[in-house]
């Protein structure tokens, strides 16, 4: 069981490493966001599952942490992506088309 937990932890850390590599290598901000948020969510979940396997009495806290990561990480990345688009950060040279162009103008209001 502990060995299995260690293997899960290695897999999770490899995903975290791939996320950081994507953060360095990707060409523009939106691609970096793809790498930096999705892969880290999966990596953290795998690592915490491995942790819960290695120390079975921490299952509760690990499950709470996994639940929290599942809910919070997509939320923050969504907020960041939307904010970056509204702040006018460019899509990069290689982007084929910008399907959101013109879709956001009527959203501004002084709510």
């Amino acid at each position: 069981m502990e060995i299995l937990g260690g293997i899960f932890a290695i897999a999770g850390s490899v995903f975290l490493f791939l996320a950081a590599l994507g953060l360095i290598r990707m060409p523009d901000m939106y691609d970096r966001m793809q790498a930096g948020t999705k892969a880290t969510t999966l990596g953290t979940m795998l690592f915490l599952i491995g942790l819960a396997m290695a120390e079975p009495q921490w299952v509760g806290k690990s499950a709470l942490l996994i639940l929290f990561v599942i809910f919070s990480n997509p939320l923050s990345s969504h907020a960041l992506a939307r904010a970056a688009y509204h702040a006018g950060i460019s899509l990069g040279e290689r982007a084929a088309c910008d399907e959101l162009a013109g879709a956001c103008e009527d959203e501004e209001e002084t709510a």
């Binding site: 969504h78 907020a79 939307r82 501004e108 209001e109 002084t110 709510a111």
Partner: protein
């Protein structure tokens, strides 16, 4: 150029002054007198599993009272400086997205619950009143950021804050009457070591500190926020 050179000289001088302390630092294995006194006596006297919070609340209780008073003064000063005059705050805001709004509404009870857990278990696990209060304030901040709440009820906030401050001093005075001195938590039963209801009045004091810190920090954040212009609201 000469300025940078002088800066480097000053940095080297500071390094030369501080180097003996750094070299001396890891060699001190034995605890100094007061710390070893605390570590030997505190678990038996207080019954708190987390030694740090026990020391902060009891032996250093007056310092904690002073910190809470300082935070109160800071809140009052921020509220005074950033007082609304009524016609300012004409900043147009982007509305938060619907995903953020509903996600914030979902995460808010979780965060508040966790803050309450932290300050209730202050004598067992790391954290305590201050950290729990900050977590609660963060939950309310998430509501503000996600746009589902636009302002807070100031009456309730000031009521919670003044009640918890008053009750903190009242508990301290109760220690003066029924136990050894001011801020002595041992007038309540000690209970079993490591249980939730143990360690005398430390959980009570920490709950009050947590409520007070949370209300104060929410007050600061609410005062610092740019108020949204009212007349442009589309229903």
């Amino acid at each position: 150029m000469i300025k940078r050179f002088l800066a480097i000289i000053a940095l080297l001088g500071a390094a030369a002054v501080l180097l003996p302390f750094v070299l001396k630092l890891p060699t001190e294995e034995a605890l100094p007198g007061l710390a070893s006194e605390y570590i030997e006596n505190a678990p038996g006297e207080l019954g708190a599993a987390n030694l740090v919070t026990g020391i902060i609340v009891t032996y250093r209780g007056l310092d904690t009272l002073g910190e809470v008073a300082v935070l109160f003064a800071a809140t009052a000063a921020v509220g005074l400086l950033l007082k609304r005059t009524g016609n300012e705050g004409g900043v147009s805001h982007w509305r938060a997205s619907e995903i953020l709004e509903s996600g914030g509404g979902f995460l808010f009870p979780l965060i508040i619950l966790y803050g309450v857990y932290i300050f209730l278990h202050g004598h067992l696990t790391p954290g305590g009143g201050f950290q729990g209060g900050v977590v609660i304030a963060t939950g309310f901040l998430l509501l503000l950021l996600s746009g589902s709440v636009n302002s807070f009820n100031h009456t309730v906030m000031s009521l919670v804050e003044s009640f918890s401050g008053f009750a903190y001093v009242a508990v301290a005075l109760a220690g003066l009457i029924w136990a050894a001195g001011f801020l002595d938590p041992r007038f309540l039963p000690q209970g079993d070591f490591g249980r939730l209801f143990s360690a005398g009045a430390i959980p009570v004091i920490y709950s009050l500190i947590g409520l007070k810190v949370g209300a104060e920090l929410i007050g600061i954040l609410d005062a610092m926020r740019c108020k949204v212009r009212r007349e442009g609201v589309t229903a």
